[in-house]
């Protein structure tokens, strides 16, 4: 029982990341009909927002280290600490959550610029061309990031208070040995909240209703005198923000490096296909499902039985789904079934 619960928990945080990225991909595909291979790069940009914020907060001055008395020793101390003492230290500690505030406007801007500057010229082109141009864009973004931040992963600190592990076993009334890192729990909750927010926005606001109408029948909504294009652009920006947030919060789990976007991109595409192209609930469900499946496949008992299965399980599922049921788990009938 413990083993099963811990595997489910393990799958949830990764699944959360998959679900968030896949949600953004599906939004872009459902509204604009764009297959965006640069979406992984947006995830990575979010992560590097966190890195930048951390770097900015820890801009340091060299000050005399008073604890060393034999000779003149210096150490780097962040300005924030010099100015505000303990408050400054706390702010630095909370750099990852703080980056969310920065990441939202930055990623929204990136999304709008990307859509207006590039994507809109590709509505009428084939999917292959869309893939190619966004693939090129992904390379460009990735290399720019590498130019500024180097090729090595940059670890991110998390606030002291959530750095330990939660005693999940006691909470659920199972054995005491069942512990799980707080941050991953937070990540899962965060993902749920963001996903819930996006769905609520689409479901319960007039704006979202119009967007959904546009997804179903763009021309008719346009004929009713609504500037559907602008709304779709904003939805694209929203997708970028979601990907960015996923990236920001994922940095403590996985130290960001310049190719993390590409690594996640392929998986998220697989997730989208498994969920069904254009189906938002499908993307989310498939994200969590595949995350959990992957963590079960990496259990030792299963690996003994089927060696190497943890590496390929997701792709295997995708292959089977595409071949047997191309519209995915929750795709609408007739959409992208060729």
């Amino acid at each position: 029982m413990d083993a099963i619960v811990i595997q489910i928990l393990n799958g949830l945080d990764k699944g959360g990341a998959y679900a968030l990225i896949a949600l953004g991909l599906t939004l872009a595909f459902g509204t604009l009909g764009i297959v965006n291979f640069a979406h992984g790069a947006l995830f990575m940009m979010g992560a590097f927002c966190a890195v930048t914020v951390q770097k900015l907060l820890t801009i340091s001055a060299r000050v005399r280290d008073m604890s060393v008395t034999f000779f003149e020793a210096y150490k780097e101390t962040p300005y924030l600490e010099l100015w505000w003492g303990d408050t400054g230290t706390t702010i630095i500690e909370y750099s990852v959550p703080l980056s969310i505030l920065i990441a939202i406007p930055v990623m929204a801007l990136v999304g709008v610029v990307m859509e207006r500057g590039l994507i809109r010229f590709f509505y009428k082109r084939t999917h292959a061309e869309q893939i190619l141009v966004t693939f090129g864009l992904a390379i460009v973004i990735q290399e720019i990031i590498r130019h500024f931040f180097g090729a090595n992963p940059i670890p991110q600190a998390i606030p002291e208070i959530v750095s330990g592990s939660a005693n999940v076993g006691t909470m659920l009334g199972l054995s005491d040995t069942l512990v799980y890192p707080w941050w991953r729990l937070i990540y899962f909750c965060f993902a749920t909240v963001v996903i819930g927010g996006v769905f609520a926005f689409l479901q319960y606001t007039t704006y979202g209703m119009v967007v959904r109408a546009g997804m179903a029948d763009r021309d008719t909504v346009g004929l009713l005198g609504i500037n559907i294009q602008r709304r779709f652009t904003i939805v694209f920006a929203l997708a970028a923000v979601v990907a960015g947030l996923a990236g920001v919060m994922y940095t403590p789990v996985l130290p960001p490096d310049y190719h993390m976007g590409m690594d996640f991109l392929v998986l998220s595409f697989v997730v989208v296909v498994v969920g069904g192209m254009g189906s938002l609930p499908g993307a989310v469900a498939a994200g969590f499902l595949l995350g959990i499946l992957q963590s079960f496949a990496s259990m030792n008992e299963i690996k003994q039985f089927l060696p190497g299965i943890d590496q390929i399980i997701i792709y295997l599922v995708a292959v089977v789904i595409i071949l047997v049921r191309p519209r995915g788990l929750m795709g609408r009938k007739g959409v992208m079934e060729s």
Partner: protein, 382 residues
């Protein structure tokens, strides 16, 4: 008509053969005439030609073609390890085993088209790549890569006593440096010839028809899938051949050759040169490998020397601007260039060439040039 076009093809073949074999001479002025780079031109040329048979003719965008490259490399190295250092069995093994892989993968992937096909091939590529690193380590030697060792069996050359690692050879001729290049060049010429024949054949025409309208093909009574599968397997075998040639020039195989970004590279080459043209993919492969070589060797000092004719301030500005694009940032240039090509010149260099020709011959044949020549460039011969 047919006699004329045969003559024209003969001419193309003759010029092409001459151009490839004299590459060490005419590439000398631009500093590209050394064996390592020439071998790369030939190998990636073969890879791109093969990819073009699938993507250029049928329009099926495979994002997992590097698998066949990797499989070809592994098979060739195993042939060196187990059989002999002669390259003929290695090349044959690489091509055939890649072909077998292509049959299996193609049979499954070709059940879907469009983006699903791309994602299926991508999924297979990632599976192979991950498995090469984990479960298949006994065959692939994992992260170290598959290498020759002195105590490999090599049942056919057991007699030869050597110290140090053996070198690949063709009936006693050592295939390193220029002989290696000429071996690749001969295979490139053969590959090009086959591709030319495919382009001119009814089979090639059917593949083009699939690209332009598969539904209509089906309605006219064609079962398109065998044709697609044949194209897929042929292009997989080209990739296997290229992979085994990589092992011939440097007997080492690693799984990073199978990563999906490597598949992306051949897509870039094909698009850059011109999808669906005969010679375009070769041009693209050559250009990318050449500039990779040139650009990645630049660093800040070299740039300062290049711009030293400018006043100091401008020199520094220029170096600052150009620096991110060279050296390690070469991929940035590649990505940007690729975007520009896809946006403005979807037919690649060959389309640009046709347009250029169109500009100069405008006054002579007006009616021809007023048609949207750009789209037709894809079907014009190389």
């Amino acid at each position: 008509m047919s006699i004329q076009s045969t003559r024209k093809d003969l001419l193309i073949m003759a010029v092409f053969t001459l151009a490839v074999l004299t590459m060490p001479i005419w590439l000398d002025p631009i500093g590209a005439a050394y064996p390592d780079l020439l071998q790369k031109f030939a190998i990636f040329g073969i890879f791109a030609i093969g990819f073009n048979i699938l993507f250029g003719l049928t329009g099926y965008l495979s994002f997992g073609h590097a698998v066949f490259l990797g499989v070809g490399s592994y098979s060739a190295v195993w042939s060196f390890k187990l059989l002999t250092m002669n390259v003929i069995p290695a090349v044959i093994a690489g091509t055939l085993i890649a072909g077998v892989f292509a049959v299996v993968i193609g049979f499954l992937c070709l059940r879907r088209s469009g983006i699903y096909f791309s994602i299926l091939t991508l999924a297979f590529a990632q599976m192979s790549y991950n498995m090469a690193y984990s479960v298949l380590t006994p065959i692939t030697n994992g992260e170290t890569g598959l290498q020759l060792t002195q105590n490999d069996p090599r049942i056919f050359d057991a007699a030869a006593e050597t110290t140090g690692l053996p070198i690949t050879e063709l009936f006693g001729m050592k295939l390193s440096g220029y002989p290696g290049f000429y071996f690749c060049a001969v295979l490139l010429i053969i590959s090009f010839f086959i591709s030319l024949r495919i382009f001119r054949s009814p089979f090639g025409l059917k593949l083009r028809a699939i690209k332009s309208n598969q539904v209509r093909m089906n309605y006219t009574g064609f079962n398109t899938r065998p044709y697609l599968l044949a194209a897929f397997v042929i292009s997989g075998m080209y990739a296997g051949l290229a992979g085994s040639l990589m092992a011939v020039t440097d007997p080492l195989a690693g799984a990073e050759r199978m990563q999906w970004t490597a598949s992306g590279e051949v897509v870039l080459m094909t698009i850059l040169g011109g999808v669906g043209t005969l010679i375009g993919p070769l041009l693209g492969a050559g250009l990318i490998k050449y500039f990779e070589n040139i650009f990645s060797s630049y660093n800040e000092q070299v740039l300062h020397e290049i711009f030293s004719f400018l006043p100091d301030l401008f020199e520094n500005i220029m170096v600052f601007v150009v620096n991110p694009f060279v050296g390690e940032g070469w991929h940035l240039t590649l990505g940007a260039l690729f975007m520009v090509i896809v946006i403005f010149l979807p037919g690649g260099i060959m389309e640009g060439w046709t347009r250029l020709i169109g500009l100069f011959t405008k006054d002579r044949s007006k009616p021809d040039n007023n048609t949207p020549a750009s789209a037709k460039a894809q079907t014009s011969e190389g």
